[in-house]
Structure formats: structure tokens, C-alpha cells
């Protein structure tokens, strides 16, 4: 269960964080975060509030200037890359909350998905049609304002918008917030389906138990450091994790 570091960890790793330090203003959130994510897996990141889960995603997606450390994607050093370059390289970020243009139609929202990073994609209209075919709820509302979508459909729209770019890695932050249990399962189903088609998914989720149940791996962050990483089932059954979520600090992982 110890965190693997060093060259051995790079085998099959699609994303690697190496001693990443960063934060907002004078506040440091990530205190040397190190982990690696295996290709074609769903990894759920859990940890108490303030552990740096969302900050970690922002750092990966180039929205947070790092003080030190390195981020590698598919073996390439992508530290300091702009979101646009990362999108082109195959990373998509779906932050918490509502991230759509509510006044624009669903179709228009999808078109905006590739406006910056996808000039090389020549078959965008066909991709949008195909996506709408796969998600009938979106097809039904393709030409009405996205604000009329339900919470779950809005999240779906954000995921689908990212998929238009054919990503290799999706960073998704709290997809279940505000969704009914049924919609959570539906959203998780979409993620599992993507994983089965080879997309790597890194997810932050408060709803730790149900997220870990559909995940391959679990990653526990605490105070801006990776404390535990391993098969999702092990994380789920680890007594230290339970303790962590009950509010106590984790005992040193011997």
C-alpha cells in the first residue's frame, strides 16, 4: 500500500505528479504532492476538506502556477503548460459545479468545447451529432437554452463537451454534487464506459464509498500530500481511511 515512487512507478503511468508544491497567494496547499496514475483506470481521490484535491486538479490543468515540482503526462513534462496545450495533448478538466454557458443552446455549448483547442478537428459537426445520438437527453434539448437542463444533464453536457476532443485523461471534480442517487449512478456509468474504452479517469468525490466502488484505484490526499494509494477495494476497507473520514488525523503509514 505504500506509495511507489521512482522509475518503477512510471510503468504504465499516464500521469505523474512529482513533488508538486503550489497554492494561492501566500497559502500553500500542495506540499510536495507525488503520485502516478495508471493508464485506463478510474482513480478516485479522497481526503478531508482542504486536503488539496481540487487544487491538485487545477495544478494538473495549468490553472495554478507551481512553486516547484513537475507534472508529466504520457512521459512528457507538461509543467507550466497552458490549458489549451493540455487539451490538445489529451487532458480534459470538468470542475465542480456548473460549467456551461446557460444562455446558449446545448449545441452551441458543445461547439464551444473545441473552439480553442480543436481547430485541427475537421469533423466537429459530425462528432457533435454522434455525441447527441449517444445522449438522447441532450439530443432532445439540443437547440434550447442549456439552462433548461437538469443538474445531471448539465454535468452530462460538460462531460460530452470534453469528449468531443477525444481525451486520454479526464479530470472530474465532484461530479455527483447536487445529483440524485440515480443520476449519480448514471454519471458513474458514463465514466465506467469511458474507462472501458481506454480513457483514464481521475475523479475527486466526497461521495467516497460509491465512487470507490466503481473505481480501480483509490488515492488518499491529506494536507496536500498523497498518503495512500492502492486498489480501490483496499482503500475502501482500510480502517485508517475510515478514521480519516471520521475526522481524526491519519496515523503514520508505517
Amino acid at each position: 500500500m505504500a506509495i511507489e515512487t521512482g522509475p518503477a512507478a512510471t510503468t504504465g503511468a499516464v500521469l505523474e505528479m512529482q513533488d508538486v508544491v503550489g497554492g494561492y497567494g501566500r497559502m500553500t496547499i500542495l506540499h510536495g504532492t507525488t503520485f502516478s496514475i495508471r493508464r485506463g483506470t478510474i482513480t478516485t481521490v479522497i481526503g478531508p476538506n482542504g486536503a488539496g484535491k481540487s487544487t491538485c486538479f487545477k495544478a494538473i490543468f495549468g490553472l495554478l502556477p507551481l512553486r516547484s515540482g513537475a507534472i508529466r503526462f504520457e512521459g512528457r513534462d507538461v509543467t507550466g503548460w497552458t490549458p489549451r496545450r493540455l487539451l490538445e495533448a489529451g487532458i480534459v478538466y470538468v470542475p465542480q459545479g456548473r460549467n456551461i454557458f446557460p444562455e446558449l443552446s446545448v449545441r452551441h455549448n458543445l461547439e464551444f468545447g473545441a473552439v480553442a483547442a480543436g481547430p485541427h478537428i475537421t469533423d466537429m459537426p459530425a462528432r457533435i451529432e454522434a455525441a447527441l445520438d449517444r445522449f438522447p437527453a441532450l439530443r432532445q434539448k439540443a437547440d434550447v437554452q442549456a439552462s433548461t437542463l437538469s443538474g445531471g444533464q448539465q454535468k452530462q453536457l460538460e462531460i460530452v463537451r470534453g469528449l468531443l476532443l477525444d481525451p486520454k485523461l479526464i479530470l472530474i471534480d465532484e461530479p455527483s454534487i447536487g445529483l440524485s442517487p440515480m443520476l449519480v449512478q448514471e454519471t458513474f456509468g458514463i465514466l465506467q464506459d469511458l474507462r472501458d474504452r481506454g480513457v483514464t479517469i481521475l475523479m475527486v468525490e466526497q461521495n467516497a464509498r460509491s465512487a470507490l466502488e466503481i473505481s480501480d484505484e483509490g488515492l488518499v490526499l491529506e494536507l496536500g500530500r498523497a498518503r495512500l494509494q492502492g486498489p480501490a477495494r483496499d482503500i475502501l476497507n482500510d480502517p485508517r481511511v475510515a478514521q480519516l473520514f471520521l475526522g481524526g488525523a491519519m496515523e503514520p503509514a508505517a
Binding site: F61, L63, T82, P83, R84, R85, L86, L87, E88, Y93, V94, P95, R98, N99, I100, F101, P102, E103, L104, E111, F112, G113, V115, A116, A117, P119, R161
Partner: protein, 292 residues
């Protein structure tokens, strides 16, 4: 009737100039919450810069227009954002608005001291002929102002809705946070709106100065009318600002003709009050919803 038509065309012509200023006004508001109280001075100054270039450099008018426009866009597009908006915006909308009020005073007094306190004639690129429309003699000048202003606004609208850069700008204006996660370089897009605002102001300046002469105090009325036009139209839309500008222009022209030249300023203000009372989101505006 023929007299009415003439005033109507003059109103549409000046209104389309107010629309240019109002569109720039709403653009910088949308992308960076800048209420530019110096917008009138932005329309006053480019013509002065052109005349200054003629006077100091001895260049012919077309060259001076290019120099004036380039200098203005550089200083009051790029420079305005870097030197005033960027440092002030973190402190809030109000301090920035007050800073633009100060800028207006500096621009006005600067034009007076640095150039002239007198109104100066500004050459028109259009023939001084008149054409007959439905039996009314209408100056070609006004027709051409309408043509040029509408063509520019149509071009801008095409740019914003049909080009990739324009659409990125639109996305950045609607929601910078979402734009960022879609890989849109939000900062560059915001800068672009300031450049477009300065270019529109320069165009408005070159169109209006042949009629009203180039004078340091021209910005007062133009700024007020552009502000009214933006609010009447609905503050956050190009089409709204266009409609607002035209309406204000027509109201002003007809008021000057049929009410009183001394009280003409009150008529567009009355329009403003009516809109604020009856339809505060503007004629074709949408209710503002911001998530912070």
C-alpha cells in the same frame, strides 16, 4: 414630411455613431466590468490626434488618420487596459469607474492645453453633395456615415459570431471561468475587446468630427449619449447597443428640431428614465446573472 425625413436621417446617422461608442462600452463592460466614463473622450480624442499629426508632422490627412488611429488604439486600447483597468479592477468596479472619470478629465483638459480650446474643422472623406430621397435633399455625408457605421457593426458581429477568435472572445465575455477550462486564452481575449473598443471609438471620432468639428469638450455629450444608448439597448449586447444608439440619435435629432435646441439634451435623458422605470434590463437585454 420632407423636413421630418431629413431630421430622421440625421438622427440615424448620429445615432449610428453613438452606437459605435455604445458597443465598445458594452464590450469592455462584459469582459472586465469596466464602466468607462471616459468613453465620450475616447471618441473626442482620435480626431484631435489626427489634426495634431498634421500640424506637427506635416503629413497628409490619410497618413495622419492612420497615425492617429494607431496611436489611439495603442494608448487607449492596450495602454488603458494595462495602466488603468488591470491595476484598479482587483479593487472593485467602483474605484475603476472613478479612475475612468479622472481619465476623462485628463483627456479633456489635455486636448485643450495640448492642442486647442477652439473647435477645429475636420475634413470629411465624403463628397459634400446632396441626394434626393423621396423628394428631400439629404447630405451624402449622413448617408455615408450610416453606411460605414452599419458595415462596421455588421463586420464586428460577423467576427464575434462566425470566426474562431470572435467566438473565443464571446465565450470569455460570457463566463471567463468556463472559457478558461475550454482552453480559451481569456486574458488575450479581454485585451482584444479593449483594442476593438478603441478602434470603434476612433472610427466614431472620424465620422462625427466632420459634422460637429473637433473640440476638446465633444466627449461630454457623446459619452452621455453612448451611455444612455447602452442602457436603453440592454448593456450586454451588440444588437442592443446598436438599437439604443439609433433611438437616442433619432430622439436627439427630432428634439432639436421640434422641441428646442437648448433642451435637446433632456429628451434622451427622459428616454433613459422611461427605460429604467419600465424595462430596466433594456429593450433587448437580458437580466444579468453573475456567479462569483
Amino acid at each position: 414630411m420632407s423636413e421630418f425625413l431629413a431630421y430622421l436621417i440625421v438622427g440615424i446617422a448620429t445615432g449610428s455613431i453613438y452606437a459605435l461608442a455604445a458597443i465598445g462600452f458594452t464590450l469592455v463592460w462584459q469582459t472586465s466590468q469596466t464602466i468607462n466614463f471616459a468613453q465620450g473622450e475616447f471618441v473626442m480624442l482620435p480626431a484631435i490626434l489626427v489634426l495634431l499629426a498634421v500640424k506637427l508632422l506635416g503629413v497628409p490627412i490619410p497618413v495622419a488618420v492612420l497615425i492617429g488611429a494607431a496611436a489611439f488604439v495603442l494608448i487607449f486600447g492596450v495602454g488603458f487596459k494595462r495602466a488603468i483597468v488591470d491595476p484598479m479592477l482587483p479593487h472593485g468596479v467602483l474605484p475603476l469607474a472613478i479612475a475612468t472619470m479622472s481619465l476623462a478629465i485628463i483627456m479633456k483638459e489635455g486636448a485643450k492645453d495640448g492642442f486647442s480650446a477652439e473647435a477645429q474643422s475636420f475634413p470629411s472623406p465624403f463628397a459634400a453633395d446632396t441626394v434626393s430621397i423621396l423628394g428631400t435633399a439629404v447630405s451624402v455625408q449622413f448617408i455615408m456615415i450610416i453606411v460605414v457605421a452599419f458595415a462596421s457593426i455588421a463586420a464586428l458581429q460577423w467576427f464575434v459570431t462566425r470566426t474562431r477568435t470572435g467566438r473565443q472572445m464571446q465565450a470569455a465575455a460570457q463566463n471567463p471561468n468556463v472559457a478558461r477550462i475550454l482552453g480559451i486564452p481569456v486574458e488575450r481575449m479581454v485585451m482584444l475587446t479593449f483594442i476593438i473598443n478603441a478602434a470603434l471609438a476612433a472610427l466614431a471620432s472620424f465620422l462625427i468630427s466632420p459634422i460637429y468639428l473637433a473640440k476638446f469638450s465633444n466627449g461630454e455629450t457623446i459619452g452621455l449619449f453612448a451611455f444612455i444608448a447602452a442602457i436603453v439597448g440592454g448593456f450586454n449586447q451588440v444588437r442592443g447597443a446598436l438599437l439604443g444608439g439609433i433611438l437616442v440619435g433619432i430622439f436627439d435629432s427630432l428634439a432639436a428640431a421640434y422641441v428646442s435646441t437648448s433642451y435637446r439634451l433632456a429628451v434622451p435623458l427622459a428616454l433613459l428614465v422611461l427605460i429604467i422605470l419600465l424595462k430596466p434590463e433594456g429593450l433587448i437585454g437580458r437580466k444579468e446573472e453573475r456567479h462569483v
